[in-house]
């Protein structure tokens, strides 16, 4: 199952050199009564310098768990992580700290992730001291950091406490804190979802600017597939711990192949859809769109995890879990019913419809 990484070329690969590899990552949680939750199942992807890979999925799909494993904050059940071609070892304090100077994490909630009793200066000084020692020109470094995230005048903001800052400013501090270690990989876990719509764009533009200037390899976790289209090079769609579809952002959002991706795309608010299914239709009828599928309490344990919600599911889907099969050189989907879900994409399938190989 893990040859997906070798058969598919990442759409982000053209941007820069390989920075990080996640190889068949899996994570199981024991949830009592002998039950196991497979939070992440056999997930492989690469991050490249200067490129953004988006991990898209709903709450509980395992996207944050995957990112936490990459950050070294969660032990993996199986699989491997490589940084710059070398296997990652985070056992022991020294190793962990060295790893952290390369790989940094930005949290979702800027209201919860900054300590309310410390000033911005304290938040930024600590990572600078930890990762660069005490003999640096602290003031110059701090000002440079603040200018990187465009919090100016820097000295004024350094003295502030989180409660004196707006949501957007707090998230800028979080970015600065992550950048203090001068990482090559930035894992951003829903960095804008807690912010106002009008500020989100500014933040994404800032992240994009940082990616370019510092040639960061970025993992962007989101449930907003529209922002992934705007921001990312490659999109990985996760469902119940598995990558069900991956490919170039534009292709995935414009021509989703997997039924789940199609559901995600159909669920995104569409301002141009003024005759929306949400409003009283002109003819008074509401089309039974895919949005009416109810979320089951738990994903299927056998077969394709999406099969209980999938309008196209047949017996095979309930019995065998499909693997991620290439559609084009940069694109793949894990679905038995691609012929029905995305017939227009099928001619691109090498050798026709994928057959069982597991």
């Amino acid at each position: 199952m893990s040859e997906q990484a070798t058969t598919l070329t990442s759409a982000a690969a053209a941007r820069g050199e390989l920075a990080m590899e996640a190889i068949s990552l899996s994570k199981d949680f024991r949830i009592g009564r002998g039950q196991t939750l497979h939070a992440v199942r056999d997930v492989s992807f690469n991050l490249y310098r200067g490129a953004v890979v988006a991990l898209v999925g709903e709450s509980g799909s395992g996207k944050s768990t995957a990112a936490r494993m990459l950050a070294g904050q969660e032990r993996m059940t199986s699989g491997a992580i490589k940084l710059d071609g070398k296997p990652v070892d985070v056992t022991g304090r020294g190793n962990f700290r060295r790893y952290k100077s390369q790989v940094q994490y930005v949290f979702q909630d800027p209201f919860a992730s900054l300590n309310p009793v410390h000033t911005v200066r304290y938040d930024l000084e600590r990572p600078l001291k930890l990762h660069h020692g005490r003999d640096i020109d602290m003031d110059a470094e701090l000002v440079a950091l603040m200018e990187q995230v465009r919090l100016t005048p820097a000295r004024q903001f350094l003295a502030k406490y989180p409660h004196e800052l707006s949501g957007g400013q707090r998230q800028r501090v979080s970015f600065a804190r992550a950048l203090a270690a001068k990482p090559s990989v930035l894992l951003a876990d829903e960095p804008v979802s807690m912010l106002d719509v009008s500020i989100r764009l500014e933040m994404l533009n800032l992240l994009d600017d940082l990616r370019q200037r510092l040639s960061l390899a970025m993992l962007y976790i989101t449930h907003d597939i529209a922002s992934a289209r705007y921001f990312a090079d490659e999109v990985l769609v996760m469902y119940a711990g598995e990558i069900v579809e991956r490919g170039p952002a534009e292709e995935i959002t414009q021509q989703p192949a997997h039924p789940y991706t199609q559901l995600l795309v159909a669920s995104a608010p569409d301002p141009d859809n003024l005759g929306s299914t949400l409003r009283r239709g002109a003819n008074g009828t509401r089309s039974p769109g895919p949005q009416r599928t109810r979320t089951p309490e738990r994903a299927a344990t056998a077969g394709c995890p999406f099969s209980p919600r999938c309008p196209l599911a047949e017996d095979r889907c309930r019995q065998e879990d499909p693997t991620l099969e290439p559609i084009t050189a940069t694109r793949g989907a894990a679905c038995w019913r691609l012929d029905a879900a995305a017939p227009e994409l099928i001619p691109g399938l090498p050798g026709g419809r994928p057959t069982t190989n597991n």
Partner: protein, 367 residues
């Protein structure tokens, strides 16, 4: 830019649907927060009405006063908030004659609350009581606002869950046993427990996934059709309102800057702030374009700048905007007399959503 010639401020209180009196009519409502640093003018002389069965969307950034407006109108604010002027006329089917919410005694208000105007709060996680199961919380609402025997109340609680699509087996579940979407559905069930005339929804889906969000919105609309209540929908996501709302009111710095039908707002946004909001969210369909968002941040409402509050962030702003009288005027280019804007200038023809960012446009001069 040309000035909007010869237009006197028009009253906005006219009902949206002809022949129907508004069920809620907010007139000249002002709310301040008394702080040691001075009064924060959170809501400044706002006029808004709500027709029976209508969905009015209230859009704006955090701190624009949209929640304060609605909570002020329903008398849910406590000190240091202070309502300094205005009237809020409620005229539901169950009241004999229209009442001014702002003049009611506490006992009269108590009869109106939840029975007539119910609220779905933003964070279902915090709004539900973690130590009571779903049934007890529903019963709590029913017993507090309706006279009903116990058995009947229990039946009602169960049928409320049916209404929002939660299996009855969940009656005994506690909030932590429910998913985010289910919790929000329970909140909606609670709001509908007393068959209210108006349901205020304060960002009910902000914390949810898109798929669940769409599911819940579709359900809300379905219930509205079925039960005939009106909705005030508060959100910062204008893209959502374009699909959902009948009419949209755009709020900024305590004032309404533009009101119009969803189609009008989408087709012909008139105020630069509305244009900015429309240009703030990445679109999933259509050509991929660079977006600008709205640079800057809202003004300090303790000492609001003279004239238009959006001026410091406005791409089209000129010195004339400092003396602008903030009245809602009919949009000169629009055929719809209900489409009103606070910007007295006709902006250069800019179909905002197609632009590469409004800032790059050169602003014309007002005449």
């Amino acid at each position: 830019m040309t000035a909007n010639p010869g237009q006197a401020p028009i009253p906005v209180a006219a009902s949206h649907l002809p022949g129907q009196d508004p069920v809620l009519e907010i007139k000249d409502l002002s709310v301040v927060y008394r702080t040691p640093g001075g009064d924060v003018r959170a809501v400044d002389k706002v006029n808004l009405d709500l027709a029976p069965g209508e969905v009015v969307g209230l859009a704006g950034e955090s701190g624009s006063g949209k929640s304060t407006l609605v909570y002020g109108a329903s008398r849910l604010l406590r000190a240091p908030a202070l309502i300094t002027s205005g009237s809020v006329t409620y005229a539901g089917r169950r009241v004999t004659k229209p009442v001014d919410m702002l003049r009611l005694r506490p006992d009269q208000l108590q009869r109106l609350r939840w029975r007539e105007i119910a609220i779905v709060f933003q964070s279902a996680m915090n709004a539900l009581n973690p130590v009571l199961n779903v049934r007890d919380q529903l019963l709590d609402v029913i017993h507090a606002h309706l006279r009903m025997p116990r058995d009947e109340a229990r039946d009602r609680a169960a049928s409320l869950l049916d209404l929002v699509g939660i299996p009855r087996s969940r009656l005994r579940s506690y909030p932590h046993e429910l998913s985010g979407g289910m919790r929000q559905r329970v909140m909606i069930a609670m709001a509908l427990a007393t068959d209210p005339e108006i349901v205020i929804m304060d960002e009910p889906t902000t914390a949810l996934d898109v798929v669940v969000q769409r599911d819940i919105l579709a359900q809300i609309v379905e219930l509205k059709e079925q039960l005939g209540f009106s909705i005030v929908f508060i959100t910062h996501d204008l893209s959502l309102l374009l699909e959902l709302a009948d009419r949209i009111a755009v709020m900024y710095a305590g004032q309404l800057l533009e009101i119009g039908t969803a189609a009008e707002i989408h087709r012909e946004p008139s105020h630069p702030y509305t244009k900015g909001l429309l240009n703030s969210f990445p679109s999933l369909r259509g050509p991929r374009r660079d977006l600008a968002g709205i640079p800057g941040s809202p003004p300090d409402l303790r000492d609001p700048p003279p004239g238009c509050p959006f001026l410091p962030r406005c791409a089209y702003g000129t010195s004339a905007c400092e003396d602008v009288d903030m009245h809602l005027l009919q949009v000169a280019t629009s055929k719809d007399p209900e489409h009103v804007t606070a910007c007295p200038f006709v902006l250069p023809d800019t179909p905002a959503p197609q632009l590469r960012g409004a800032r790059q446009e050169t602003a014309g001069e007002p005449t």
